[in-house]
Every structure is written in structure tokens, then in C-alpha cells.
């Protein structure tokens, strides 16, 4: 079933009837605009209130809310700050690996993983959740272990007394 937003937008863009297509796209744009202006006002009011800054911080670090704020250029943190925050997530930190943000130049996020293997997919997912606006995510290290049954020689050495 193709019901995700990107597929629906693609389907609308491919409508053969130009009037139906333009109306549908204008409707989507108008609804997005309405939410953008309401969110902008919400942030304005939050920032003006006493402890609003802290609350805004909590809201923005939620992947769902943060993603929508990003969509409308309303997110308080830049790309590097968001990626660093995602990497400090306890699930990743407690995996015993060193996960370092190497750079975020031109929207390309580069991460270095040193330590246990098999973390790559988790790291990638955490970055995309925090930064759907990234152009590319490149993770060095943290590859999946070789299939069971194959024991690399380094591991034998490391394990021997």
C-alpha cells in the first residue's frame, strides 16, 4: 500500500489533469503554511515566556516535533548541534563505542565509530531521525560483524591469555 506522504505527493504531481494537480498541491501548501505560521507564533510566545526556552529545547529534541520544526525552518538548533545531541543518546553511548562527529560540511554528516562492530545501522537511524535535512550521512567504522562461524584472527589473539 502506498500511503506515505512522499508517495502521495509523487502521485499528485503525476495527476494527468493539471487543474486537479495544481489544486491538490495548493491545498497541501496552504495547510503547511497554516501550520508554519501557527508554529512560528507558538515559538515566539514560548521564547517570550519565563521558562519557555527550556520547554522549547525539550520539544525540539523530540524527533517528531523537531522534524516538523525543521521543515519550516523553525528549529532552534543547527545541523551539527542536532547530530551531537543524537549521538549522546544513552542507547548509543552505552554500546561501548566511541562515536565521533567528524564534520557536517555542506550538509554531509560524517561520523566515525571506533569500538564494537554492528552499530552502523543504529547510528545512521539516529542521525536521520535528528537530521532529515542532511544531504548525506556517512559512517566510517561500526560495520556488521562477519557472519557467524567465521572468526577473524584478531579476535583469537585478543581473546587468548
Amino acid at each position: 500500500m502506498s500511503d506515505s506522504i512522499d508517495q502521495l505527493v509523487e502521485q499528485v504531481r503525476a495527476f494527468p489533469d493539471p487543474q486537479a494537480r495544481d489544486t491538490a498541491l495548493q491545498l497541501a501548501q496552504a495547510i503547511l503554511d497554516l501550520h508554519a505560521s501557527a508554529l512560528a507564533r507558538l515559538i515566539e510566545l514560548l521564547s517570550a515566556s519565563g521558562d519557555g526556552g527550556e520547554l522549547l529545547d525539550t520539544l525540539a529534541s523530540d524527533p517528531k516535533i523537531g522534524g516538523v520544526l525543521l521543515l519550516h525552518d523553525l528549529h532552534p538548533l543547527d545541523l551539527a548541534q542536532r547530530v551531537r545531541r543524537a549521538l549522546s543518546n544513552p542507547d548509543l553511548r552505552n554500546a561501548g563505542a566511541q562515536i565521533v562527529l567528524a564534520s557536517t560540511e555542506d550538509g554531509v554528516v560524517r561520523i566515525r565509530v571506533e569500538g564494537p562492530h554492528g552499530l552502523r545501522a543504529n547510528v545512521e537511524r539516529a542521525i536521520w531521525d535528528a537530521a532529515p535535512d542532511a544531504r548525506q550521512v556517512i559512517v566510517d567504522g561500526g560495520e556488521q560483524l562477519a557472519p557467524a562461524g567465521f572468526v577473524p584472527i584478531e579476535m583469537l589473539r585478543a581473546g587468548s591469555p
Binding site: D3, D6, R13, P16, A36, P63, G67, P132
Partner: protein, 212 residues
């Protein structure tokens, strides 16, 4: 429909295309933000197409030997009475029925390009076949090198011939790459191609070359 939407990369991209604050384009010469419709210049040294504001387009584009930038014309001409037989078209040996021909500024003869799912592909042009075409369609001898192309669309029974600005040809190549799916392209790409030619048609001046 699922009630819990995570804003995945794909969804983000799709919606980002609908939000009003699309990242604006800037003039490649003075870096001022540009309107959606803006002039393009050809940088002669490397055949690169640059975006420009109206002021820079007027200021920097010169014709003649010493010009570094050429302004790419806005308008296209739809040619009626263009003479080419199916055999002549086949003799150009292009893999698809959609191509554009442009004379690079530094070279004497034109190069053929055809859009493909991988982008714009350059094709060796049979010079004898091209010369024959120019003899029967003298309008081709007047193409401005680098910025004007003969754009031919013979797909799906159409027989459309345009003198088109080069930026429009690149635009066509870009949308084909973006929309192409599978082996035959899929409905979306043919819809996009049809739309492109309808729009080009609207901004074109008709030119009957049969009696020119």
C-alpha cells in the same frame, strides 16, 4: 493511513518541496537572491550555465570574441515545415527519439545530446547527415553557438522541432533523470515530458521555415 508519521528523509524531502521557504537561488555573479524566473548566462570558458540577476545579465553578457558570458535567450521558436525524413533521422544514429543539437562555441560542427536516465549523454554526430539537414533547413545555419539548440521530439508520434535555449534543454534532461523509472520510463516521466513541451510551446514563437 498510518497515524504515526516519523518525518523520514523521503517525507521531509517531499514536503520541503511544498513549503514556501524553499532554499532560494542566488545570482552566481553578485550573489543577490533571484526570482524563480531569472536569466541564465553561458560561461564561455567551460560551457557552464550560470544563474544571474537581470542587472548582471545586462552588465556582463557581451557578444563577440572577448565576451566571457553569453546571455541565453529566453524565447524558443517552434519550427513548422522542418524537413527530415525517417531515414535521415535514423542516419543520425541516436538511441532515442528525443535529442538536442548544439554547436559548441569553440568547435565548428554541432554535438548531439540525448537525455537518458543517467543524465545528458553526448553522441557522435554523423557529419554528412547533419550537413544534409542544414542544406534542407537553412535555419540551422543560424543557430547561435553555445546558447541555442535544435530540439527534436519524435517520441510517441510527435514531430516537434524547436530552436530552444540551451537552459531549457538541460531542464528537460534534468526532469527526465528525475522522473525516469524502470525500463520504459513509467507514466510520470512521459507526463513530465509532455508538460515540458506544452510549456515550451506556450513560450515559443511559430516560425514557418518552409517558405523562408
Amino acid at each position: 493511513m498510518s497515524a504515526s508519521y516519523q518525518l523520514s528523509k523521503n517525507v521531509f524531502g517531499a514536503l520541503r518541496g511544498l513549503t514556501p521557504d524553499r532554499p532560494p537561488e542566488f545570482c552566481d555573479l553578485c550573489h543577490l537572491p533571484l526570482a524563480e524566473e531569472h536569466p541564465h548566462l553561458l560561461q564561455v570558458s567551460n560551457h557552464e550555465v550560470l544563474c544571474a540577476c537581470e542587472a548582471c545579465a545586462v552588465l556582463f553578457s557581451h557578444r563577440g570574441e572577448h565576451g566571457r558570458f553569453f546571455r541565453i535567450p529566453r524565447d524558443a521558436q517552434q519550427l513548422t515545415g522542418f524537413v527530415i525524413s525517417d531515414a535521415e533521422w535514423s542516419a543520425l544514429r541516436l538511441p532515442i527519439d528525443l535529442a538536442f543539437f548544439v554547436q559548441r562555441y569553440s568547435e565548428g560542427h554541432p554535438t548531439a545530446y540525448y537525455p537518458s536516465p543517467a543524465g545528458c549523454t553526448e553522441s557522435l554526430l554523423d557529419l554528412a547527415a547533419w550537413t544534409g539537414l542544414v542544406e534542407r533547413n537553412s535555419v540551422l545555419a543560424q543557430l547561435t553557438p553555445g546558447v541555442e539548440a535544435l530540439l527534436v521530439n519524435r517520441t510517441r508520434g510527435r514531430r516537434d522541432y524547436f530552436i530552444a535555449p540551451i537552459d531549457q534543454c538541460y531542464k528537460l534532461a534534468g526532469l527526465i533523470r528525475r522522473h525516469w523509472r524502470g525500463l520504459s520510463g513509467g507514466d510520470a516521466v512521459w507526463h513530465a515530458i509532455g508538460e515540458f513541451f506544452d510549456a515550451l510551446d506556450r513560450r515559443s514563437v511559430r516560425k514557418d521555415i518552409a517558405h523562408a
